[in-house]
């Protein structure tokens, strides 16, 4: 078991390393560099030389990669070009904002998806299932930017209950942000919940028709006891990985929703820095997003190992 965790951790590190190389080379092979991107039309002669000198762009690529990754390892992601501020400072605020949005959406969306998934599976083809499933399909198929826009129109403009877009600055306190996140959370949760609900539903239906559930019925296990002891632990196992992917997606910044609501999160920062051609920030963001995906999936894998006895022993025997 311990070895197994070590192995997974090792694999995670290798992934991050490979991703960092790919990001770096990706930015490297793009025509031009950070300075030409930033200086635009003035990128010539002395000005360009000074800029390159400042950023150390004259040294060989491998050297720059090593110093970049070495610094990144110690948590220093360098300086942004446009704001000339440390990237850490810019990103940390955005990470906090995205976290607030993500955690709220997770806290509401995931339990809701699981509960609704169970309900639809147990009452399969009956009224609750038909009602919830139809609604789920609708919210899955309508793109976020449409549902978000409709939400703004109805709640913010017609009813005037909540602010339509976020107008507070990105460094405002959590309390200031809170009323602003309600609409984005609803928009995100709709899509997320619908997706997960359908996965949970089909998993549970599959388990319900398994031989061991039939056996449990034939042993005389009462219905709800059967559901909680024999069905749910097995039916929800595959959901762990789906949840992990969803969380990673949320933490990585929900680009479309953030842009529609003008929410100062990671997703909007990605868009902003790309349009500002702020390559150091883009590079740093890509690395952080990779870290989030790998980390969350690692946790999910370990969690599955803990919960699923079958996987545990099989892996050890190998």
């Amino acid at each position: 078991m311990f070895l197994l965790i070590l192995k997974r951790l090792g694999l995670g590190f290798i992934t991050i390393f490979l991703v960092s190389v790919i990001i770096f080379t990706g930015v490297e092979v793009l025509p031009g560099d950070a300075c030409t991107a930033y200086l635009e039309r003035e990128a010539k002669g002395e000005l360009l030389e000074i800029c390159r000198e400042q950023l150390g762009l004259n040294t060989p690529a491998i050297e720059r990669y090593l110093s970049w990754s070495y610094n990144a390892l110690y948590g220093d992601l360098g300086y942004s070009l446009s704001g000339e501020k440390p990237i850490n400072e810019i990103i940390s605020v955005r990470v906090r904002n995205s976290l607030i949005l993500a955690v709220t959406a997770i806290l509401i969306g995931i339990p809701l998806a699981i509960i609704l998934g169970i309900v639809t599976a147990l009452w399969r083809d009956k009224f609750p299932d038909i009602f919830i499933s139809t609604f789920a399909i609708f919210s899955m198929t309508i793109p976020e930017f449409i549902s978000a826009t409709i939400l703004i129109l109805v709640v913010a403009i017609w009813l005037n209950w909540l602010p339509g877009i976020v107008i507070v600055s990105s460094n405002s306190t959590v309390l200031e942000l809170l009323p602003n996140i309600i609409l984005p959370v609803i928009a995100i949760s709709m899509v997320m919940t619908a997706h997960m609900l359908r996965m949970v539903r089909s998993n549970i239906i599959q388990v319900m028709s398994s031989d061991y559930v039939q056996m449990a019925k034939l042993k005389g296990v009462p219905y709800w006891k059967m559901v909680f002891i024999h069905v749910l632990p097995n039916g929800l196992l595959p959901a762990i990985n789906i949840i992990a992917l969803t969380i990673a997606w949320l933490l990585g910044g929900v680009v479309v929703t953030e842009v529609v609501f003008n929410y100062p999160g990671l997703g909007r920062l990605v868009i902003e820095s790309i349009s500002d051609r702020d390559l150091p920030v883009v590079q740093a963001l890509a690395l952080i997003l990779a870290l989030i995906y790998v980390g969350v999936n690692l946790i999910a894998d370990l969690l599955t190992l803990v919960v699923n006895p079958r996987l545990r022993t099989l892996q050890i025997r190998k």
């Binding site: 056996m215 042993k219 022993t313």
Partner: protein, 678 residues
């Protein structure tokens, strides 16, 4: 007569078909189970036997419903009880032992918990007593170290152990009626014989009534007092086990019994023509009409009732039962059709091949060294002549399929070589074989459902080998396909059907046709009949035999069923843990002297005769891996000589009639020991 524990009255169960019609799976079933009696329900797939067993617990599968009739358990109709009331009966008064124990145990719960659950639900004993009871139950089903087993998860046990756990779980509620749905199907022969012996003991000790559902007349014969034969949702024969099996007075039961290959009779069994009628079909007369030799117009137009004929002790649903009771069972075994073409050209030689599944250490790989540890299959040496059928026999884990895969080039050998027609050494990797080498060796798999592409029509399936190996196209291609269909006794009508529109036997025929399309020298058959019903099995075996006689093909036949092997093969190789134990002509392998393992296997075979009990000599145990030194069978052998067996690899000994036995015991002594005992 003793009291009835369950009475079934005019029971019909069915479903609504897509066009809204009511289709019945069980048609007007009336019967009863007496206290302390074991009733065997036998029938082929689709006969409704499992549906009947489940109805006896008041359970109908999703989509099915009761059309009419009732199932009375102690004068309560189970079929209109509330769930609350049923929960009290299920597991306590009526318990079920399922077909596939591995899938019927909840994967995330420990064995101990699953048994305790039944105890908690149906008894009032406290925690301590419950733990004792669990140990007692696991001990009763003869599982080694019950306390450790209770802490295990289902997937950590072998198939036989899982089945025993399922039995222990069913016994936990001390039920009065035990329903067994194919409890030994899928188990190895020796394990199956042991499980049946255990069930017999339980029946004797506890006076439990049992209903034993199976397609295997051999198993039914061993456990039942009474047999019910079902066909197309109806009871066609119902009587004492000895009466039914010695003089089956219904033509279906008669045919079923004759289609079983038997150890005592070499040669192919008689096949029953036709297939059971479609469920949706409305039958006015007798449901067996289409397949019956005795059928007349009367049978076509009016339905025979289930009745007890004069001078008979059993119920039968046939107008012409007298014809059958007069005509005693005379199995028409064509014993001469096997063992025909003798052509001594060697087509394939396995020269000391060894195969391993375990990964080799990096160091060994770098030095190109071959580690002796954990070899799955070791030193197999077999020569196969043209036109012969060689069978590889053994229990699961004996390496028989592994050898087949390496002949096909799907699994690379670590040592040794595979020589084709003396001169050509076949690469152990299929990618390095030439087109004509590939054509020469074809495979037929166990499960035609999985080996035929579901989105291809029969025509497309059969055209592929023809296009690939012979570059046929157009009319020529079509001609060949129709010709192939004729060879496997199917008509042109099948050309545009998809696999799902075929019955199990028809699918396997297509698989056979596909193999023959390549005009191969050798066909590898991997358990080709084990997924089929017995009557279909007999027909497929007959087909394989006929094709071989026509085309001079060589078969390498892998099976766990010794009777099937006896019926079809010329030579038999017995394998244990990837090591060859015995090899020789099949007529000799089935006679003494035998390797002790062959003896154990033969002893465990179930014959459809209640008076022929299996002989259980070796312990039923699953070994994780073969022993590193000594004889491969050392730890289960009932005839261990001494130290030698554990340290030295036994030598090959040859009997006068040409079979080779790998054992430390002198062949004369083996013969003496084996014949004196019986």
């Amino acid at each position: 007569m003793s009291d009835k524990i369950q009475t079934i009255e005019n029971l019909s169960i069915g479903f609504k078909s897509q066009n809204g019609r009511e289709v019945s799976i069980l048609k007007d079933i009336s019967t009863h189970i007496n206290k302390g009696e074991t009733v065997g329900i036998v029938g082929e797939s689709g006969s409704g036997k499992s549906t009947l067993a489940l109805a006896m617990m008041g359970y109908t599968k999703q989509g099915l419903y009761t059309i009419s009739g009732q199932c009375l358990f102690k004068s309560n109709n189970l079929l209109n009880m509330t769930d609350r009331d049923l929960e009290k009966i299920r597991g306590k008064e009526i318990a079920m032992i399922p077909q596939n124990a591995g899938q019927s145990l909840t994967p995330n719960l420990k064995i101990g918990y699953q048994i305790e659950e039944t105890l908690k639900l149906h008894s009032t004993i406290n925690t301590n007593d419950r733990q004792l009871k669990i140990t007692e139950l696991l001990h009763k089903v003869r599982l080694p170290s019950p306390n450790i087993i209770a802490q295990r998860y289902p997937h950590e046990l072998s198939g036989g152990q899982q089945q025993r756990v399922a039995i222990a779980m069913a016994l936990a509620g001390s039920p009065e009626l035990l329903l067994l749905d194919e409890p030994t199907t899928g188990l190895d022969v020796t394990t199956q014989a042991h499980v049946l012996e255990l069930l017999n003991e339980i029946a004797k000790d506890t006076d439990t009534s049992m209903v034993y559902v199976s397609h295997d007349l051999g198993a039914i014969a061993q456990v039942s007092d009474r047999v019910i034969v079902m066909y197309a949702g109806e009871i066609v024969l119902d009587g004492d086990v000895r009466d039914v099996l010695s003089v089956p007075i219904h033509p279906y039961a008669h045919g079923l019994l004759n289609s079983i290959p038997k150890l005592s009779l070499p040669g192919l069994p008689e096949a029953m023509p036709g297939t059971p009628p479609q469920l949706e079909k409305n039958i006015k007369g007798c449901s067996f009409f289409e397949r019956c030799d005795f059928a007349t117009d009367k049978c076509k137009n009016s339905k025979p009732e289930l009745f007890i004929p004069m001078n008979k002790k059993m119920k039968v649903r046939c107008f012409w039962h007298n014809k059958l009771s007069e005509k005693q069972r005379k199995p028409k075994y064509d014993s001469n059709s096997a063992h025909k073409t003798k052509n001594l050209d060697e087509v394939l030689k396995l020269d000391k091949i060894s195969i391993t599944y375990s990964k080799q250490s990096i160091i060994d790989q770098l030095l190109n060294r071959f580690s002796e540890k954990n070899i799955t299959v070791k030193d197999i040496e077999i020569e196969i002549n043209k036109g012969e059928t060689i069978a590889l026999v053994g229990e699961s884990g004996s390496g028989k399929s592994t050898i087949l895969k390496s002949i096909a080039g799907l699994l690379s050998t670590k040592n040794g070589s595979i020589n084709f027609k003396k001169t050509i050494s076949l690469s152990s990797d299929v990618r390095n074989r030439t087109n004509s080498q590939l054509r020469a060796i074809q495979l037929i798999f166990q499960n035609p459902d999985e080996s035929l592409n579901p989105s291809h029509t029969v025509e497309e399936i059969l055209s592929q080998p023809l296009k690939l190996y012979f570059q046929l196209s157009g009319d020529k291609l079509k001609e060949n396909i129709i010709d192939l269909l004729k060879k496997v006794r199917l008509t042109e009508n099948y050309l545009y059907r998809f696999p799902r529109q075929l019955s199990g036997g028809e699918k396997q025929r297509i698989a056979v046709a596909r193999a023959f399309a390549a005009k191969p020298d050798i066909i590898l058959c991997d358990e080709v009949t084990s997924a089929l019903d017995v009557s279909v099995q007999a027909a497929v075996l007959k087909l394989l035999q006929d094709l071989k006689n026509d085309m001079g093909t060589t078969y390498i036949f892998v099976s766990h069923d010794l009777a099937v092997v006896r019926a079809i093969s010329d030579k038999v190789a017995v394998l244990y843990q990837g090591r060859l134990c015995e090899f020789g002509p099949s007529s000799e392998v089935y006679k003494f002297p035998s390797h002790p393992y062959t003896e154990v296997l033969l002893g465990a075979v179930l014959e459809p005769n209640p008076d022929l009990k299996p002989v259980l000599t070796a312990e039923d145990r699953v070994e994780e891996s073969p022993p590193e030194i000594g004889c491969s069978f050392q730890s289960r052998c009932p005839r261990v000589l001494g130290e030698k067996c554990f340290t030295e690899t036994p030598p090959w000994q040859f009997s006068k009639k040409g079979n080779a036995i790998r054992c430390h015991i002198k062949i004369e002594n083996l013969f003496k020991q084996q014949t004196s005992k019986n």
